[in-house]
Amino acid sequence: MRLVVTRRIKPLRFGGIIIPLLSIIIGIVIASIALLVLARVPPTLVYTIIAQSFVSPQLLRPFVLLTILGVALIISFSAAVWNIGAEGQIIWGMIAAGYIGLFVAAHSMYIKPSELPTYENMPGVMILDRSPIHPVVSVLNVSPAVGGALMILAALVFGAIWAFIAGTLRAVLEIDEVASTLIMNYIAYYSFNYLVTGPMRGLSVQARNFGRTDALHEALRFQRLPIAGTTVTWQEVATMVVVFVLAWVLLKYTTYGLRLRILGSNPNALRAAGVSVRKYIIAALTISGAIAGVVGALIFAANLFALNKIDNVVSPPTQSMGYTAILVSWLAMLDLKGIPISAYIVAGLMQTGNSLQAALGSVSTAGAMISGAAITHVLVGFVLLTYTVLRVFTEYSIKVVRGGR
């Protein structure tokens, strides 16, 4: 018996829908078997939680962030520039937004305990720490709208710079961007740890004890949408819409976008036309990094408010979304239209990881300590692997033929 692989004359009909769906189902089944064998998690629990996760309003926030990141990655992926460093770019976005939010748009300072009542009702002042010895207040320096815009802008610039480094290494020295961006993720993680426990460490007692920054001034925090059960803010939703529309225009209606896409399919044609390929490689990574950086600002100002040091690289403050977003843009088959759909699916898997982690304690003593991030990795990994293999069927057919070689 042997298998024959041939290229299809026409792509598989509805392959763009059937293959991803099938991959998700098969991937989830394999992941649930792994969870059963290794951590004694009953598969019925996995499936129940998956079903609940996909309709939970909590899904909205990861959906919004993953859509933005999916767009960020698609810009570089469609140019065949593999930006696997969104993690690091998000982290630098967080650092930049944190610096603006905690030291520029507002700043924290010590006051005398006797001054506490004076500051209590002062406009633009938030009390961070009521310690009887060293109370700490945060003082707003600019209007919240300006502060928010500055945070996003700073995050955009830092994310772009971090990606620009990898882009330059690739364009000038031909250093594979997959390896360099991945290694730079770890440099970003440890830079983050150094900064939040060192130069950016806060003044309040908790900040000093736990080695973290102070909390962001309340006025600078992004505002949640009035939907029950979700923590998504309108700034995040607005960013998603703006990023999506801009990317759409860039990729579909500008020469710049067209050249990026040609870079992905046929770089020699671009060279022959006299276009600097190097410039476009750097541009693809820089734009991608800028968008990922903005996500860092969103995570900080909408959800974290204070930056804690990363104790375990399995669960960084990015929730590893820089990695899971790779699945988002691949499931969408590198088509911008498909991004929201695949972001929804991946957000569902992420939500499953978190909810399953919370539910594990009661059913599996063996798996009680497994992090939600690990469960998400297992789900995302197996779906991605199944999809990678099954995707062959959209363009190739594989037939089983009886008989010898």
Binding site: A39, A179, V378, E395
Partner: protein, 297 residues
């Protein structure tokens, strides 16, 4: 030799064996033309498997053996999928990376929550000396295999031009399966030594990122088994003695944790800006999809 110098060299034995064997296996596999981006995931999984198996079997050798087997199976899977099906090597590698990261927690965490006691290799000078000697000997063996044997020639041919190799009678699949199996067995051994001899402790996430350091070690040495000895020795020294730097110069521990990654990036830059990259060029078919129309699997 001065006893103090000898002690310094021996002290870096576990770190050297870890990075050298992992980089050696990675280089061997890539010599056959398969782009290996799964290294960090399988390394992290190997670390967890070695830890768990050592605890369950009350023996570090059991840990190493099981890690070698599990990693080799992944090597075979990657070699098979990337050679037989027209799939991007990068996509296979990164999806297995995720699988490895996640499975590592599933394997290690339940064991750690039930049996917190580690089973490790001894921290003795003779064991460290043995590690140094054996890993260098394995490296020489791999080098001789690649340069002096028919199999080695076939592996290099599959990496340079699989179509031509196939026309000359090389079974590309078989050759890549062998390279993947042996390569990943070495990565498995490296990951086992990382946890059972080098860090001597396990928690969720241990090993993550160190596969990438081995990746950079191999890349900066042009995947050459002998050149990799030098690159791995530099990295092992740096990793092993970074805490000395930390104490001596009063550097933040977060900066010292960052040093190996900066060094990895720097090593790749040095490799590309010097004539090294021309002397030790990557296999020409590395990462290219190997597909013949109308062919049998």
């Amino acid at each position: 030799m001065e006893p103090a110098v000898l002690a310094l060299i021996l002290g870096a034995g576990p770190a050297f064996a870890t990075y050298y064997l992992t980089a050696l296996g990675h280089g061997l596999f890539e010599k056959s033309g398969v782009l290996n981006l799964a290294i960090d995931g399988v390394f992290t999984l190997g670390v967890a498997v070695a830890y768990a198996a050592a605890v369950l079997g009350y023996n570090p050798n059991v840990g190493s053996l099981v890690a070698i087997i599990v990693a080799a199976l992944f090597g075979l899977l990657i070699a098979f999928l990337s050679t037989k099906l027209p799939i991007s090597h990068g996509a296979i590698g990164l999806s297995i990376m995720f699988v490895g990261y996640g499975m590592a927690s599933l394997v290690g965490v339940p064991i750690r929550s039930q049996t917190p006691v580690m089973v490790t290799y001894p921290m003795s000078a003779s064991f460290y000396a043995g590690l140094l000697v054996i890993s260098v000997l394995i490296g020489i063996a791999v080098h001789l295999m690649l340069t002096k044997t028919k199999l080695g020639a076939a592996i290099r041919a599959a990496g340079e031009n699989p179509h031509a190799a196939s026309a000359l009678g090389v079974n590309v699949l078989k050759v890549r399966l062998i390279a993947g199996g042996i390569g990943y067995a070495l990565i498995g051994l490296g990951s086992a030594l990382y946890v059972l001899a080098y860090t001597q402790s396990w928690a969720e996430g241990v090993g993550m990122g160190h596969g990438w350091i081995a990746f950079a070690v191999s890349l900066s040495a042009g995947r050459h088994p002998i050149a990799t000895i030098i690159a791995a020795a530099i990295f092992a020294g740096l990793l092993n003695y970074r805490y000395v730097l930390q104490g001596y110069f009063g550097i933040s521990p977060h900066i010292t944790n960052m040093i190996p990654y900066i060094a990895a990036l720097a090593a790749m830059v040095i490799f590309m800006v010097t004539p090294l990259h021309r002397k030790l060029a990557p296999p020409r078919a590395l990462g290219k999809i190997y597909f013949k129309e109308e062919r049998t699997v």
